[in-house]
């Protein structure tokens, strides 16, 4: 390599533009690999470009009068797609859970009686279940819950169990509002945090989902 520095230099001087051209050519292909990204080179590392998703009805309040009443729903979250389809909707399954009065600290706000979570397990993305039965939880999800029993959320894939009556310290934000604690403490299994949240409003006896916490594969 040191024998002929002039030749080495000329080789390098011609190789670098060729490699650069190849990278530019590849970029036009690679860019299309990630269809939901913003344009330019930033796109390869940017999070998906979000399109507005209208508020969607999750449940009727009249269906959620009994303590531990639980309803499931699907929320469609849109992201921009740079293809002929223009947008892509990811279906986010969710749960609305009516908490019993003894687990609600601040009873002045009616929203505090409802726990709304995304059903996508924050561990590796399976759809978790609402388990109201002690034996089902012990047999199917490998968690022997303490007495007195109350229902849990539990995921069939890697057996994470979430306790809806307890909070866990975790920082984040939904819809611009910051939170430092989330309901759904992980009591068993490998999940790193409680289920992802959704922000909601109560209007005309209906629960309306306004926004969702990001992350997770729909």
């Amino acid at each position: 390599m040191n024998e002929n520095t002039r030749r080495t230099f000329l080789k390098a001087a011609t190789t670098i533009p060729i490699i650069g051209g190849a990278v530019l050519a590849m970029h036009s292909i690679l860019r299309y690999f990630k269809p939901t990204m913003v344009g330019g080179l930033d796109g390869l590392t940017a999070p998906p470009d979000m399109a507005p998703s209208p508020p969607q009805v999750a449940a009727e309040i009249s269906d959620l009068q009994a303590p531990w009443a639980c309803k499931d729903f699907i929320y469609v979250r849109n992201s921009v797609e740079y293809s002929s389809r223009k947008t892509q909707g990811a279906k986010i399954p969710g749960f609305v859970l009516r908490l019993p009065d003894e687990f609600v600290a601040d009873k002045s706000d009616p929203k505090n009686f409802y726990l709304i979570v995304q059903r996508i397990c924050p561990h590796l993305g399976c759809t978790f279940n609402f388990v109201p039965d002690h034996d089902a939880l012990k047999g199917g999800y490998n968690y022997d819950a303490p007495q007195p029993f109350h229902p849990y959320f539990a995921c069939p894939c890697h057996l994470s169990v979430y306790d809806p009556t307890h909070t866990q310290d975790i920082a984040g934000s939904v819809d611009g509002k910051a939170f430092d604690k989330l309901r759904g403490k992980v009591v068993s299994g490998p999940a790193p945090r409680p289920p992802r949240t959704m922000s909601f409003d109560i209007k005309d006896g209906k629960i309306l989902i306004t926004d969702t916490e990001g992350g997770g594969v729909g």
Binding site: F33, K34, P35, T36, M37, L44, T45, A46, P47, P48, D72, I74, R77, S79, E81, Q88, G89, A90, K91, P93, H123, L124, G125, C126, T127, F128, N129, G140, Y141, N142, P146, Q147, C155, P156, C157, H158, L159, H166, V187, S188, G189, P190, A191, P192, G215, G216, V217, G218
Partner: protein, 552 residues
């Protein structure tokens, strides 16, 4: 003396410069390291060229051995099975429709409608593809183990081993991309897990140098979205996986065929009867156990229990037992750990009894693979009970191998005892075993304490009891809760006892090898100095003989 008096004493700068020049002279630990780094690219290139020449793709250099020892025919058998899978895959490709609405139905049609008379051609083709793929993975795994247990990677065959490992990994990824195409429940949830799994690459703890920077580049999320073609599993995912499914085989095949073209060797070192028997075995399995289809994918319901394909079961169980970040790093790292272990096997011995540590690494891997799969299939795995047993047995296997190896070396040549005295290896195993077990139990105690505190406070409020009364009430009513009833423990609840598992691992994995590296470099430098001195003495016997005299 007169001359010395005339020379002025060198200044501080000159002496400092001389000191640093001495450090980077081609002697001593630092000098060897420095010149080693400078020479590394050239040496690495030479090393690679040598290994490239010796590289073995389908056991083609063992053609003579394969006639008597069937273990050496595994490469040829694997290649034959691969060809069967590609052939049947091309047949299936004609009738399969890669779309979420039609994929499941198109496979149903292939299985039921495609017949000649009563003979189910479609079922045969799919059986050949599915069970052929299983045979591919079994044969590729056996071949990796054959090379491992016979020390086949020694004598410059490291690349052969890596290619065998690459074949196995490509086979497993082909399986994963292939079974999404069926669009059944197992496929959907396996893909979900596989696509979510890279997102943990964005969750590096910030104390790792550059961790926050890596997280900010969103590489994990980008990987997930590139795999899925969006933010969720949908039609784009199916076409992408369809493309990846071909691409894996095509890229590997082009690479192999180029090699065959340049070297001109026989691809399969097996006879035509062996080929026919392999084909008939796979066909027989396909006839007696038609390939299963499961139920159509439903993204809204995860069935319980849900299992992956058989070759991922052990890893699936591993994911349940660990913190997901650590599990991701470990799973991605398994092939690299294996290759690292290969380079640790420095001695030339290839016989079974003479390299016990590496045998035990292989046996351990096999045992965990079989045991985890067995436990999960029969639903007797328990994520709270199993982990300490697993940590202990892993450390135990390595320690048994280590002491067997030490015994062998002492017997062979007890003057070279340090060849096996890997104090850092033993230290690492010990730290790991203790750390894992402590974390498991103390982690549990921490959980119990937090819960104890909460329950006791509820009882105190509800019944108007003091803390001691509440504890004894709980103790008599629910002894199974395993509560600690000293006030000190209760007041300390909520704070983690000791360090977390991954911190201990990070310390063990980084600090112990770093220490080993420093000590090893020092000893290696001293050895090379001694060798160079000996060579110099041999080359110039007179100079060497006169040098001590001059000093004296």
């Amino acid at each position: 003396m007169a001359e010395l008096a005339m020379t002025p004493k060198p200044g501080l700068f000159t002496r400092t410069a001389a000191f640093f020049r001495g450090l980077v002279a081609k002697r001593g630990a630092i000098g060897h390291w420095y010149h080693g780094v400078l020479d590394a690219p050239a040496n690495l290139w030479g090393w690679l060229q040598d290994r490239w020449e010796k590289m073995d793709l389908f056991d083609e250099s063992h053609t003579e051995k394969a006639k008597t020892v069937p273990w050496y025919a595994l490469g040829g058998m694997w290649y034959w099975v691969w060809m069967l899978v590609i052939g049947s895959g091309v047949l299936l490709m004609i009738f399969y429709i890669p779309d979420t609405n039609q994929a499941f139905g198109s496979i149903e049609r292939i299985m039921t409608n495609w017949k000649i008379g009563a003979f189910p051609i479609g079922s045969m083709a799919r059986g050949l593809h599915k069970y052929g793929a299983d045979a591919f993975i079994i044969l590729a795994t056996m071949r990796v183990y054959r090379i491992w247990f016979t020390g086949g990677y020694k004598g410059g065959h490291e690349l052969s081993f890596m290619v065998a490992l690459l074949i196995l990994i490509v086979g497993m990824y082909s399986g994963l991309t292939g079974y999404l195409l069926i669009w059944n429940q197992r496929a959907l949830w396996a893909t979900k897990v596989m696509a979510t799994f890279p997102t943990y690459l964005d969750k590096n703890p910030s104390w790792i140098p550059g961790g926050d920077f890596i997280n900010a580049t969103n590489q994990g999320k980008t990987t997930a979205q590139v795999l899925l073609g969006g933010t969720s599993i949908g039609p784009a995912t199916v076409t992408r996986f369809y493309a990846f499914h071909f691409m894996l085989s095509f890229v590997l095949m082009i690479f192999f065929e180029l090699r065959v073209y340049h070297r001109d060797f026989k691809r399969m070192n097996i006879g035509r009867w062996t080929k026919l028997i392999i084909f008939l075995i796979i066909m027989a399995v396909a006839i007696f156990i038609p390939a299963a289809q499961g139920s159509p994918a439903n993204p809204e319901v995860t069935p319980n229990p849900i299992l992956s394909d058989w070759y991922f079961l052990a890893m699936y169980q591993m994911l349940k037992l660990q913190d997901p970040y650590l599990a991701t790093i470990l799973t991605v790292g398994i092939p690299f750990i294996v290759i690292f272990a290969l380079f640790m096997d420095r001695r030339p011995e290839t016989k079974w009894g003479q390299r016990q540590i590496f045998n035990w690494i292989g046996i351990g891997g096999l045992i965990y693979f079989v045991l985890f799969s067995f436990l999960i299939i029969n639903e007797i795995a328990d994520i709270h009970r199993d982990p300490p047993l697993w940590y202990y047995s892993m450390g135990l296997f390595l320690l048994i191998g280590y002491f067997q190896d030490w015994a062998y070396v002492m017997k062979r040549d007890n003057k070279r005892w340090w060849e096996t005295f890997h104090i850092f290896f033993v230290a690492f195993i010990a730290v790991s075993m203790v750390a894992n077990t402590l974390y498991h139990y103390f982690g549990d105690i921490r959980e119990h304490n937090v819960r104890a505190k909460e329950i006791v406070q509820q009882v105190m409020a509800a019944k108007g009891m003091t803390m001691d009364q509440a504890y004894s009430w709980l103790e008599s009513n629910r002894p199974a809760l395993n509560l600690w009833h000293t006030n000190e423990v209760v007041t300390a609840t909520g704070k983690p006892h000791g360090m977390e598992l991954w911190r201990l691992h990070a310390i063990a994995w980084l600090a112990i090898p770093a220490l080993g590296f420093v000590v090893g470099m020092k000893r290696w430098g001293a050895k090379r100095d001694a060798r160079q001195d000996a060579e110099a003495a041999k080359a110039k016997p007179k100079a060497a003989a006169t040098a001590p005299a001059a000093q004296a």
